[in-house]
C-alpha cells in the first residue's frame, strides 16, 4: 500500500483515448453522468501570417486525464460541513457515506470537479484511488488500463524524483488553492497555467 499516493500524467504521450475514464466507470459501476475521472481536451490556435505573405497555423490540442488529486489541502475537506469528506492516514480523500448530507458544497468548490453527486444515492461520490486495489498491491483501474502508460501513480516523493517538480498547464487551476498530488509532464504545445489561448473542446464529456 502506497504511503503518500500521487498521480502522474505525461502529456507528451497521452492520446486522449479515454480508456482511463471507462476503466474507472467499469470498476466502480458508476451510473450515467457520474465520472470520477474525466479526460479534458484543450484546444486552440489561429491563422498566422508570415513575412512572405503566406499564412500558416499554430493550432494545438492536448488531453488532461484528471480525477481526484487527493490534494494536500483539499478545499472539499475544508468546506464539507459534516466532515464526511476526509483524508485517511495515507492522504487519500474519501467520503464517509454515513455522514454525507448531499449538499454538494464540495462539488461547488473543487476546481478539479472531483466530488460527483450521485442522485440515486443522494450523496457525493468520488475517486478513492482504488484503495482496495492499492491494499492488494495493484494499480488503480485507470492507471492499469492506460494503453500508452501516460497515466501512472506512485509515492509522491518518488514521482517528484522521477519527473521533477510538477508543471501546471492550462486549464489546470492554480495549484496553490489545494496543493494537488498531481505531477504533470507538459507536451510541446502545452499552454501555461492561466492561459486563455485555448478552450475546453469537449465540455459535454467532462
Amino acid at each position: 500500500m502506497l504511503k503518500h499516493p500521487a498521480f502522474h500524467i505525461d502529456l507528451t504521450t497521452c492520446t486522449g483515448c479515454k480508456t482511463c475514464m471507462i476503466a474507472c466507470k467499469d470498476k466502480n459501476d458508476l451510473p450515467v453522468g457520474v465520472k470520477w475521472r474525466r479526460v479534458t481536451e484543450y484546444t486552440g490556435g489561429h491563422w498566422v501570417s508570415r513575412a512572405d505573405g503566406t499564412v500558416t497555423q499554430d493550432v494545438f490540442a492536448y488531453y488532461l486525464s484528471v480525477g481526484c488529486n487527493h490534494c494536500e489541502d483539499p478545499i472539499c475537506v475544508r468546506n464539507c460541513p459534516t466532515t464526511a469528506m476526509h483524508k485517511d492516514e495515507s492522504g487519500i480523500v474519501l467520503v464517509d457515506a454515513t455522514k454525507c448530507i448531499g449538499c454538494r458544497y464540495c462539488e461547488w468548490a473543487c476546481p478539479y470537479h472531483a466530488p460527483q453527486f450521485d442522485p440515486a444515492l443522494g450523496m457525493m461520490t468520488k475517486c478513492n484511488f482504488c484503495i482496495d486495489y492499492l491494499r492488494e498491491g495493484k494499480a488503480p483501474a485507470c492507471v492499469a488500463a492506460c494503453p500508452t502508460r501516460s497515466l501512472t501513480c506512485g509515492e509522491a516523493e518518488d514521482l517528484q524524483k522521477q519527473w521533477g517538480d510538477s508543471v501546471t498547464v492550462a486549464p489546470l487551476p492554480d495549484p496553490a488553492i489545494t496543493r494537488p498530488n498531481l505531477f504533470v509532464t507538459p507536451g510541446r504545445t502545452a499552454q501555461p497555467a492561466g492561459s486563455s489561448a485555448g478552450r475546453v473542446a469537449n465540455p459535454e464529456e467532462v
Binding site: R78, N79, T82, I101, W108, Y112, M123, P203
Partner: protein, 282 residues
C-alpha cells in the same frame, strides 16, 4: 434555473426574517412598539419556513445533524449553526414577550436576536465566498444579502406600521426612519448590482463566465428584475410619504403591492445569483 429553488427560498426567507427583526426592533426603540407587535412572530415564521425549505436541497436530509460537525473550518457548517441560533433566539423572544413571568428577559433577548441576525447574514454571505467561483467571491455577495434583508424587512415593517393605524406613534420619526432605511436598501442594491456583474466577468476554460451564464438565462429577465426593484421601491417610497401624512386603507393595499413587486424582483435576482455559479477550474 429551477434546480436552486430550495436555496433561493432558504436565503430569501431567512434574510427577510433577519431584516424584519432588525427593522422592527429599530422602530420599536423609536416608539412604534405597539404597531410592531407580531413582527417577531412573522420573522420567526419566515426563518423557520426558510430552514425547512433548505432541507429540500439535501440529498440525504436524515444525516443533517452532522452538518454542525465542521464549524472549525466550513462556512456552510457555521451558516447552519448561525441560522439555527438566530431562529432559536427568535423563538425564545416570541415566547418571552408573551409569557408575563418571562417578559423581563425580552429586552436582552431582542438584542441577542438582532446580533444573531447580523452574524447570520455575514455567515450566509461567507458560504459563497469560494475562491474557485469568481462571481460569488466578491464583497457584492454580502451587499446583496444585506440589501435583500433591508429591503424586505423595511417593506414588511412598513406594512405593520400602516396596518395598525389605531396605535399612536411618533409618525414623523418612525416613518422618516423607514424611508431612510428604504433609501439605504435601494442604494446598497444599486451598488451591488454592477459590482456583482463586474465580478462575474471572468471566463473559465470553457469560455463561460457568471455574466454570460446569467445572460444565457435571459437578459430580459435580468432587466425585469431591475425594473421590478425600481417600480416597487418607488411605490413603497410614495406610500411612505403618504404615511407621514396619515394612513388610509388604500395605503396598506398599495404597500402590500410594493412589497410583492419588490419580492418578485428579489426572487428573480436570487435565481440569477445562483445561475452565476461558474467554476474557475476544470
Amino acid at each position: 434555473m429551477g434546480a436552486h429553488w430550495p436555496l433561493v427560498g432558504f436565503t430569501l426567507l431567512v434574510q427577510a426574517a433577519a431584516g424584519l427583526l432588525i427593522v422592527s426592533e429599530i422602530l420599536a426603540v423609536l416608539g412604534a412598539e405597539a404597531r410592531m407587535r407580531g413582527a417577531d412572530i412573522l420573522a420567526f415564521l419566515f426563518g423557520a419556513l426558510g430552514l425547512a425549505v433548505s432541507f429540500a436541497h439535501l440529498g440525504m436530509p436524515l444525516h443533517s445533524p452532522y452538518a454542525l460537525f465542521n464549524i472549525g473550518s466550513s462556512w456552510l457548517s457555521r451558516e447552519i449553526f448561525c441560522t439555527s441560533a438566530f431562529i432559536g433566539c427568535l423563538f425564545a423572544l416570541v415566547v418571552c414577550r408573551r409569557v408575563p413571568t418571562l417578559q423581563r428577559l425580552a429586552g436582552p433577548l431582542a438584542g441577542l436576536a438582532v446580533l444573531a441576525a447580523l452574524v447570520d447574514l455575514y455567515a450566509m454571505s461567507m458560504v459563497y465566498r469560494i475562491v474557485t467561483v469568481p462571481a460569488w467571491d466578491s464583497p457584492a455577495t454580502l451587499l446583496n444579502f444585506a440589501a435583500t434583508a433591508l429591503l424586505l424587512g423595511t417593506l414588511v415593517a412598513a406594512l405593520f406600521l400602516a396596518a395598525r393605524a389605531e396605535a399612536q406613534v411618533p409618525l414623523c420619526r418612525v416613518g422618516g426612519t423607514l424611508l431612510v432605511l428604504l433609501v439605504l436598501a435601494v442604494l446598497a442594491r444599486a451598488v451591488e448590482l454592477p459590482l456583482g456583474l463586474f465580478g462575474a466577468m471572468q471566463e473559465n476554460a470553457r469560455g463561460i463566465s457568471g455574466f454570460s451564464a446569467v445572460m444565457a438565462e435571459g437578459s430580459g429577465l435580468y432587466a425585469l428584475r431591475v425594473a421590478l426593484l425600481v417600480l416597487g421601491a418607488a411605490l413603497a417610497g410614495w406610500c411612505g410619504l403618504r404615511l407621514l401624512r396619515g394612513v388610509g386603507p388604500a395605503l396598506v393595499a398599495l404597500g402590500a403591492c410594493a412589497f410583492l413587486v419588490v419580492l418578485a424582483g428579489e426572487v428573480i435576482g436570487r435565481f440569477a445569483f445562483f445561475d452565476m455559479y461558474v467554476l474557475n477550474g476544470m
